[in-house]
Structure formats: structure tokens, C-alpha cells
Symmetry: C2
Subunit: 204 residues, 2 copies
Amino acid sequence: MGSVARRDVYTAQSLLEVAVGVFNERGYDGTSMEHLSRAAGISKSSIYHHVPSKEELLRRAVAHALDGLFAVLDEPAAGEGRAVARLERVVRRTAEVLMERLPYVTLLLRVRGNTDTERWALVRRREFDQRVAELVRAAVAEGDLRPEVDPRLATRLLFGMINSIVEWYRPHPGEPVVSGDVVEAVISTAFDGLRQPAVSGSAP
Amino acid sequence: MGSVARRDVYTAQSLLEVAVGVFNERGYDGTSMEHLSRAAGISKSSIYHHVPSKEELLRRAVAHALDGLFAVLDEPAAGEGRAVARLERVVRRTAEVLMERLPYVTLLLRVRGNTDTERWALVRRREFDQRVAELVRAAVAEGDLRPEVDPRLATRLLFGMINSIVEWYRPHPGEPVVSGDVVEAVISTAFDGLRQPAVSGSAP
């Protein structure tokens, strides 16, 4: 054990938090067990006491992000009522989960597919997107969304907007982790657009 | 010169294209001159004949993206008429430039700020975002955009949507590089939202 090593007081969860921070900072490919050991301040063998590999840390991290996202689709409210209302609920909850699990979702969104774990994460992400695209399609069929936008394309733009939150959202210490203002801005921009509707019958 | 080296038939521009492809594939940090030499099929000294450093290739690549984007703000139509019309024009042209210069803008959007060139690129990106945010602010002041969304936040969501195009847009060979459908979907989603407006006075 190196002289810099502290006593290992990590749980699997708290070690994962450190690893996710390093992965987001250096990129997963650019991170070695040595980097993780230095960031955690414990020896490499202490890390191996918790997890068998760097890839297992990645798997647990993206699983945490994916579990949060898929749970949104399985909430009771996501299965009831008109498709547009279910879609709005899913968009709202997705934005919230993204902020709640910010570093985990950030990592998930940067995964590129060089390892089995990364390929699995990409498959799961695509599955999530497809389930949301089905909701968009259903809402178009029910006449609640504009029919001229292709559902696949609309879903991509919707996620483009939601996922971009990881690029700039940094809650201040002491503030709630989830910003209601951000959630409302996403909902109103996505569903009603930025334009102020013309007031019909107003004076010229 | 290694035995794999071909005769150097590159121009500065065609070598840059190869380099941008490698940067996007491996990440800028993960790319060595050796990788560039292998991808181009010419020796490292041939590459040095064109450019003094890897960072200079990065600078030229992100400059190409930034020049395209800033040119949008300086087009005559971006300075005339109501702010909302100028904003719509800027959003449309930004989406077009993104598709026209897809690998260059992709690289620009992935830059993280580890070198002077990357920091410069981040400063320029922020400047671009601020100029668009000013247009959003002006359009709100003129009563053409909803006042309840914060201009800074609206701009971020707008760019989230536009910039996400680099993640999934891949023109098929033989098709136009710019997809009119994608541009129209961005404009209609951003300004009017996905929701079908209620028909006033319709039967219940």
C-alpha cells in the first residue's frame, strides 16, 4: 500500500461517486485504476476490494442513471390518460431525474460504445428513446401534437433539449438539487414553444 | 519515412478533414501525431510540413466551425426587422451551418478547455450564445416571445436542441448535406412547440 493511502472508509456507493466524478473529468477511456486510487486516496487493492474492475464501476454508474430513467416510464401516471399528458409527465420526470442523478446521467450521455458495458448502455438508451417516441406517436394520433413533425425527429429534439441540461446545470450549494424553473422552461418550450401566441381579436 | 507512408498529396484543408475525423473518433486528448500519421497514411514529418502541431490542427478546425457560426450573426438579415424574425433566421442558419460543417461543429461542441486553443474556443462559443441570448431578450421585450421563460435559459434550451443534431444527424450519401426537414422541425418545435393548438370555437 502506497504512503498516500488513507484508511478505506468507502462504501460501494461512496466509492462509485468518486469514480463517476473522475470518469466525467478525464473521460472513461482516459481513466486508469491509478487515477481512481489517487482520487479516492486509497490503494488500488482497496478499490479491488470493492469492485473487480473499472468497467464494473462504469456499469454500476450507468445502471444508476438508467434505473432512474426507466422508473419514470413505469410510474403509474405514465400509463394513464391521454398520451400527451403522459408524455408531459415523462418529460418532466426525466428532467428531474437528470438533475437528481446529474453526474450519473452525464456519464451515461457521454458513453460512446467501446466496451460491452458501453454498448449495453447505448442499447438501453435507445430503448428509452423508443418508448418515448411511441408516446409522441400516440399523442400525434390522438390529435394533441402537431402532425407535421416526424415523431422520431420530435423525440430527438426533445431529448436534445433535456439532455443539454447536463452541460450547464450546476445547482448552488444549499439550493434544491432539482430546479423547478428549469423543469417548467423545458415543458413550456417543448410543448408550447417560445413564441407568444397572437391574441385573437386584439386591436391592431 | 516509414514503409507505410504514401506520397503526401494533402492540402492544408484535406489534411484538416482527416484530423477532424480522428479527433472526433478518439477525442482530441486521446489523439497523438502518430494516430494522425497513420490515419492520413503519410509520415509525421509530412504532417509537420503542413502544420507545426496537433493543437494548430485543432485551432483551424474549431475556427472553421466558429467562422461559419459567427457569419450567421453578421448576415444582413440578422440585423433587420423584429427581433423574433432575426432570431428565427439565426436559428435556421445555425442549424444549417451545423449540418454543412458537421464534423467541425461536432469537434467544437466537444472541446473541454484543457489547452489555450480549447479555452479560446469556449470563450468564442459563450460569445456566440450571448449574442443569441440578446436577440431572445429583445424579442421578449418586443412582446413576441413568452415573457415567463428566462432569456438565458431559453437560449440554452434552444442550443440544446440545435446542438443535439450533431449526435444523430448523418446525411445519406447522395442526399443534400442540409436537411430541410430537420431545419423546419427545429424552427417549429422551438417557436411554436410540439402541441397542436386548440381550435377555438370548435364543437366540444
